[in-house]
């Protein structure tokens, strides 16, 4: 990380220190806010994960590993045998699968859309950008209900497919994983399009032209020139879509019909009606650590590659 000091003169060290201090000062206001109103209070949750649940919600201040134990292991309530927490694994796996699919689909739809906007004349781009965001100025819940209205059996989607003669009977989309997927792609689309746009807007088309001059096909230009240039945007968009969709709560509850939980719903159950805060806390700290380790590992690798 830090260059070996022996290679630097003392003057260089002081200069480097001043610069690093400036970097830290630039980040400081954001860090103060985050420590005060996000990460700091999470320490409370971390502490709770090692305590005993109280009779009616909350915790008792005595140490216990029960919360962490229950995250991965399950003591059968009927015969007391201990096994892997099958229910938790199933729920985690479903969340991960749906989040990956959501990220891939938003990328597949968002990439061409962002490219389309970024290649409009400069004065028109902001209109298109607003056109993307305006639907999201309406409330999430009411939007989710509107999606439900589109995909239900007598909804627009089914009736137009039927009148086109593509299907004979309405498709049962509502209350399936497909419905959750549609809803999540819809909800998270701007989180993909906007970072992609920010990266594409500065795309230097002279490089693209150079690619064609060297007899590259459209596909080759896309893969070898455009994608590497906008990669920071793809990464930012994927992080913004993948991680929040892991913890999605409203969409699975409304469109999935609630038969199958996702991680967000499972954790909510423990803090709510389940009255087991330590388990909820352990589940969420576990999720946090997994995701953060993956992210840091990824960024490190990325830097090593350069």
């Amino acid at each position: 990380m830090v260059r070996p000091t022996s290679a630097l003169s003392s003057g260089e060290i002081t200069a480097r220190r001043t610069i690093v201090r400036r970097y830290w000062l630039l980040c400081l206001p954001a860090l103060v806010l985050l420590v005060f109103a996000a990460s700091g209070p999470l320490l409370i949750v971390l502490a709770y994960s090692f305590l005993e649940p109280a009779e009616y919600s909350g915790v008792v201040w005595s140490l216990s590993g029960e919360g962490w134990f229950k995250v991965i292991l399950n003591r059968d309530i009927f015969d007391d045998t201990i096994s892997l927490a099958d229910a938790h694994m199933t729920i985690f796996w479903r969340s991960a699968k749906l989040s990956v699919l959501t990220t891939l689909l938003t990328l597949a739809i968002g990439f061409p859309t962002a490219y389309f906007i970024a290649t409009r004349p400069k004065t028109h781009r902001q209109y298109w950008l607003f056109l993307i965001t305006i639907p999201f100025w309406t409330n999430l819940l009411i939007r989710t209900y509107a999606i439900m209205e589109v995909i239900r059996n007598e909804g627009i989607l089914n009736s137009s497919l039927m009148s086109l003669g593509l299907i004979g009977a309405p498709l049962q989309i509502l209350y399936t994983d497909t419905a959750v997927l549609i809803g999540m792609v819809y909800v998270y689309l701007p989180l993909m399009v906007l970072p992609l746009y920010a990266a594409m807007e500065r795309l230097d088309f002279r490089l693209v032209e150079a690619g064609y001059d060297l007899y590259a096909t459209r596909f080759q230009v896309l893969r070898r020139v455009i994608v590497p240039l906008v990669k920071p945007g793809i990464i930012a968009g994927s992080i913004l879509v993948f991680i929040p969709s892991l913890g999605a709560y409203v969409t699975p509850r409304v469109l999935g019909g609630g038969k199958n939980m996702m991680i967000g719903n499972l954790i909510e159950l423990q803090f709510g009606e389940g009255r087991n805060w330590p388990l909820g806390a352990a589940l969420s700290i576990g999720l946090l650590v997994t995701v953060m380790a993956a992210l840091v590992f990824y960024v490190r690798n990325e830097q090593a590659e350069r």
């Binding site: 009779e55 009616y56 909350g58 938790h88 019909g257 038969k259 159950l269 709510g272 009606e273 009255r275």
Partner: protein, 344 residues
């Protein structure tokens, strides 16, 4: 740029005005969303010169968690029967002695000595109802007064049944269907409950709220549902009927209580007394469509509510109804495990 400036000023003004301790003549009610008749509030404000603010919650556990944390600024909360004892044991409620208030004489005697608040030292009735099953008779013509509608759905209803995702209500119905009592810790029985729930789940369409809409428009043909919601459905779709499961069904009541750390205790007491007036209690019911527990309020209720079989429990089904007690932690853990297993 002036726009930015104006909005900043407006924001700062709003921040400043919202702070500070409660002034005189205020009342802060913390109640379920879409549950408080605005006309009732207006009437109270005019009668007593008090400015009332209503803030919403969406579940008993949210309300409990927030009140327990403190610093919320609420005066009144409206928990369900099985949560009132928790609020009392945690020392969150003021012993307001509504039983000594002038309008207490109007409370229907059957709602005075209730298990969650014997003699009504803390709470007064807000609304009560039942959790049963709503069935569209176009889809199924058989007996509707049974939990088998969702525990073992008849052929016609397979894939068309909804179960509201309320852990306490659903498990109570399932336990009584298998012959137990709510809050039981009998493992042999609970195993049967879990197995039949797991076997029934593939035959369900969903576990969702919002049945007033989805049963009205025919998306869902049968559902575990509340009586007041079913009453609304029938107004839109007359083929829907409400069934009282003969194996046993939960009765619930939400009660008004004053918080120990309330800023406006006197106004809160005025409000308690106010809603025990039959005419005012009728306003509560007219809005949310549930019965209220105040004698004489029927006279002021909308005509169609007075005879509705969803609101007035028919005599033959009265005995099967039971109050949900507050389950001990051990039972609660078993139920959460079953519930997680069911929805994995």
């Amino acid at each position: 740029m002036t726009w930015k400036f104006t909005s900043a000023v407006a924001g700062v003004a709003l921040l400043a005005s919202a702070g500070g301790a409660a002034a005189e003549g205020e009342l802060n009610i913390y109640n379920w969303g879409n549950y408080t008749n605005p006309d009732l509030i207006k009437k109270f404000e005019e009668a007593h010169g008090v400015k009332v603010t209503v803030t919403d919650y969406d579940s008993n556990s949210t309300a409990l968690t927030k009140v327990k944390a403190g610093g919320h600024g609420f005066d009144i909360v409206v928990p369900s029967a099985n949560y009132v004892p928790i609020f009392v044991k945690e020392g969150l409620l003021l012993e307001a002695r509504p039983d000594q208030m002038s309008n207490f004489k109007n409370v229907d005697p059957k709602w005075v000595d209730v298990p969650w608040d014997p003699g009504r030292h803390y709470t007064v009735p807000w609304q009560w109802g039942t959790t049963g099953v709503a069935v569209n008779t176009e889809a199924y013509k058989g007996d509707v007064n049974t939990s088998a509608i969702f525990m073992n759905p008849p052929e016609e209803l397979v894939g068309k049944v909804n179960v509201v995702p309320e852990m306490a209500d659903v498990l109570a119905l399932a336990i009584m269907y298998e012959g137990g009592r709510p809050c039981t810790e009998d493992k042999a029985l609970l195993k049967k409950v879990r197995d039949s729930l797991m076997a029934a789940k593939p035959k369900w369409m969903s576990m969702d709220y919002g049945m007033t809409d989805k049963m009205s428009n025919g998306d869902v043909m049968a559902s575990v549902n509340w009586n007041g919601s079913t009453f609304r459905v029938r107004a839109n779709n007359p083929t829907v009927v409400y069934g009282y499961p003969k194996e046993g069904y939960p009765i619930w009541m939400d009660s008004v209580a004053i918080l120990k750390d309330a800023n406006n205790v006197e106004n809160a007491k005025l409000f308690m007394n106010f809603i025990m007036e039959p005419e005012n209690a009728a306003l509560i019911s007219a809005f949310a469509r549930y019965a209220n527990g105040i004698s004489g309020s029927e006279a002021f209720m909308p005509e169609e509510m007075k005879t509705a079989p969803e609101i007035v429990v028919p005599a033959e089904f009265k005995a099967a109804g039971t109050f949900l007690p507050t389950c001990p932690k051990a039972a609660q853990d078993l139920y959460t495990a079953i519930w997680t297993e069911l929805r994995k």
